[in-house]
């Protein structure tokens, strides 16, 4: 009987030690999956936005709704900038071209942990994704 009681106690201790560790491991693994998944989704969004302004609309499109991110991440925020492309050797003759091209830079940001719970005590971790595309000058009209 004494042997039996010792064994039961040992099992309880094992459970008490293993279960929290297991829970923690799963929580960490899930959080890592959220991080990687959201990073991939942000990059997909940036690539889609860059592709859209390159081939369809010259203006920068807004982020696709619904928000594809997982976990407590904030909805993606989009910033964009267009910079005139400077030729390394400027053309000095009489220019016949319509206008210059631009380099559009799309940057998408999301905060990984937001709101209450652990998010209020943990440092704010932001994820970024960037995509660049060349904007050709507008095609001249026909007449």
């Amino acid at each position: 009987m004494v042997k039996s009681r010792k064994s039961n106690g040992q099992t309880l201790v094992e459970v008490a030690v293993v279960l929290p560790l297991l829970g923690l491991a799963i929580a960490v693994a899930l959080q890592l999956i959220f991080v990687f998944l959201n990073r991939i989704e942000l990059q997909v969004l940036a690539a889609k936005a860059a592709r859209q302004i390159s081939v369809e609309t010259p203006s920068v499109p807004s982020i696709v709704i619904p928000n594809p991110l997982w976990g407590r991440a904030t909805p993606p925020q989009q910033r964009s900038s267009t910079n005139a492309i400077q030729p390394w050797n400027p053309f000095k003759g009489q220019s016949t071209i319509q206008s210059t091209g631009y380099l559009a830079v799309i940057q998408i940001k999301s905060n990984l942990l937001s709101g209450g719970g652990f998010g209020s005590v943990l440092p704010n971790v932001a994820q970024y994704a960037t995509a660049e595309t060349l904007l050709e000058p507008p095609r001249p009209p026909e007449d």
């Binding site: 459970v15 999956i33 690539a47 016949t96 001249p140």
Partner: protein
């Protein structure tokens, strides 16, 4: 007693293994989804690279053809009378004219093959094992023009020859002076079971306000002034990506999926 102890030893193992198995399945699914996203992005990028590279190859060839046509003016002075083209070549330069004309025709003959070669080279460089498929078939959209050529020694006529492909008119923008090319080819690529399409078009990068702009190549139904000599003033064709029309997208994706299965 011994039996009870033995049964207690395996109690934790099963739920832990169950949890680990479920988590493993979840992880495998996540990795499969990630790989799908990766291959889709990669195939999209390759399709765009193929389309823009093929279109840039076409633009470069049109620019070269325009220059070669302009060079023809040094040997052949031609003008259009009604529907007949008449020109003269000094007999002393007959060989040079024929050589120049042969180079122009050979360059045009290689247009479609060079476009395909550029597309396949880009696809292979991006480790695509199957061929990139175009729709519609790439074409230069240039129409050969027959010219009645009179060979003269100074002002003395020596003979006449009908040259079937003396120069080329553009088939796009008939009647339009500041015409834009209508070359538009969609390309489909397939990799790891993922199919993607992209489309590129050509455009003439010349301001319409420039009075010498005639659409890059001589056109049909233009004023008589535009039919004096072979006018190719600005070989400034360029290429850009555009969105793929839905019908072409469906056609190419169906064809590629059929080919890969």
């Amino acid at each position: 007693m011994q039996r009870i102890i033995k049964s207690q030893r395996g109690q934790l193992l099963l739920p832990i293994m169950g949890l680990m198995f479920m988590f493993g399945v979840f992880l495998a699914g996540f990795l499969k989804w990630s790989a799908g996203v990766y291959w889709q992005m990669r195939t999209d990028m390759v399709a765009e690279a193929v389309a823009i590279s093929a279109a840039r190859a076409q633009a470069e060839m049109l620019n070269n053809l325009a220059v070669l046509q302009t060079i023809q003016n040094a040997f052949l002075q031609q003008v259009e009378f009604g529907n007949t083209n008449v020109g003269h070549v000094q007999a002393a330069y007959a060989q040079e004219f024929k050589a120049s004309n042969a180079v122009l025709i050979a360059a045009l003959r290689g247009f479609n093959g060079q476009t395909m070669a550029a597309a396949q080279a880009v696809a292979r460089a991006n480790r695509i094992k199957t061929s990139a498929v175009p729709y519609p078939k790439p074409d230069h959209h240039l129409v050969p023009q027959k010219v009645n050529v009179y060979y003269l020694a100074e002002f003395v006529p020596l003979g006449k020859e009908v040259v079937e492909k003396a120069y080329f008119l553009r088939s796009w923008g008939a009647g339009k002076l500041h015409a834009q090319p209508d070359h538009q080819v969609s390309w489909g690529v397939s990799d790891h079971g993922v199919v993607s399409t992209a489309t590129a078009t050509l455009w003439l990068d010349v301001s319409p306000s420039n009075w010498l702009n005639n659409g890059g190549f001589p056109g049909k139904d233009l004023s008589w002034v535009r039919n004096i000599a072979i006018q190719c003033f600005f070989p400034q064709f360029n290429a850009r990506l555009i969105s793929t029309p839905a019908d072409r997208d469906l056609l190419l994706k169906t064809a590629l999926k059929t080919l890969s299965s």
